[in-house]
């Protein structure tokens, strides 16, 4: 809920309503002249309404409370001394059972956390482990995981020293 504070009035002068103008010397001799206040006229009209039936009141509830959390993020916070990102990884953000879940649909990889920051940290660790396993020369990969390795290599590379 937004809150606002009213600035305190330090000093002020109560002025008469209307527009004041700077008087000329001639006018000052005549004394101060203040423009008359504008007269606002309110016109009211009474309308009688007879209700033939009970009025329907529709109340709409929000399906989910408004949140500042985006539905997708571009991940560019890879934390590993040997790896660097070539380009940001697009992640979908969702909430399941109170946990933030990040999903990289292209590779079916995911990460979880109690908040977005923790989930992003988890994703960084996950994707680093995955990169090293899939690029291990001793490991033979099936077609599906070979595809994942290729996609990973589009986004992540070894740092050159």
């Amino acid at each position: 809920m937004a809150t606002a504070e009213i600035a305190p009035i330090i000093s002020g002068t109560k002025l008469a309503p209307g527009v004041q103008t700077v008087a000329s010397d001639a006018e000052l001799k005549k004394g101060p002249q203040i423009a008359p206040s504008a007269v606002i006229q309110l016109q009211t009209e009474e309308i009688s309404v007879e209700l033939s039936q009970t009025p329907k009141v529709t109340v709409k509830f929000l399906a989910e409370s408004p949140t500042a959390r985006p539905k997708s993020v571009l991940f560019a916070a890879l934390v590993h001394p040997k790896l660097r990102l070539r380009k940001p990884i697009p992640l979908e953000v969702s909430v399941q059972e109170g946990q933030v879940v990040l999903t990289w649909n292209e590779t079916d990889e995911f990460a979880c956390g109690v908040n977005t920051g923790e989930a992003l940290d988890d994703f960084s660790k996950t994707v680093c482990s995955l990169y090293f396993y899939l690029n291990d020369s001793k490991v033979r990969l099936g077609e599906n995981l070979e595809k994942v390795r290729r996609i990973l290599s589009e986004y992540i590379e070894l740092r050159q020293r």
């Binding site: 399941q96 059972e97 946990q99 879940v101 999903t103 079916d108 995911f110 979880c112 988890d122 660790k125 996950t126 482990s129 995955l130 396993y133 490991v139 033979r140 990969l141 099936g142 077609e143 599906n144 995981l145």
Partner: protein, 94 residues
């Protein structure tokens, strides 16, 4: 999804595991790694079942069968062959 259910499936399928910041599990069939999945450490950690199923390439019923013993490892391998997750290179020669 409970940690116990995840570990039950991993053990049943004879997946290779490695503990780092997560428990990573890999299904190696005839020397070829065909499936991978993972979970966070800790019994209270959340495991999104739908995403684990996606990584394992199984439907909800098939996954339920995996941890309730109605789907065996052989059945699972057949599912992976049907879905072409296991290709010719990973199928044992006759």
């Amino acid at each position: 999804m409970k940690v116990h259910d995840f570990d039950k499936v991993v053990t049943k399928l004879g997946m290779e595991t490695r503990d780092t910041t997560h428990r990573h599990a890999w299904l190696v069939h005839n020397g070829v790694t065909v499936v991978r999945t993972k979970r966070s450490h800790g019994n209270s950690k959340f495991i999104p079942e739908d995403l684990i199923r996606k990584q394992l390439h199984v439907s909800k019923d098939q996954f339920t069968g995996l941890h309730s013993c109605t789907v065996s490892k052989d059945d699972y391998i057949k599912i992976l062959i049907e879905k072409r997750v296991i290709g010719p290179q990973a199928v044992a020669p006759a």
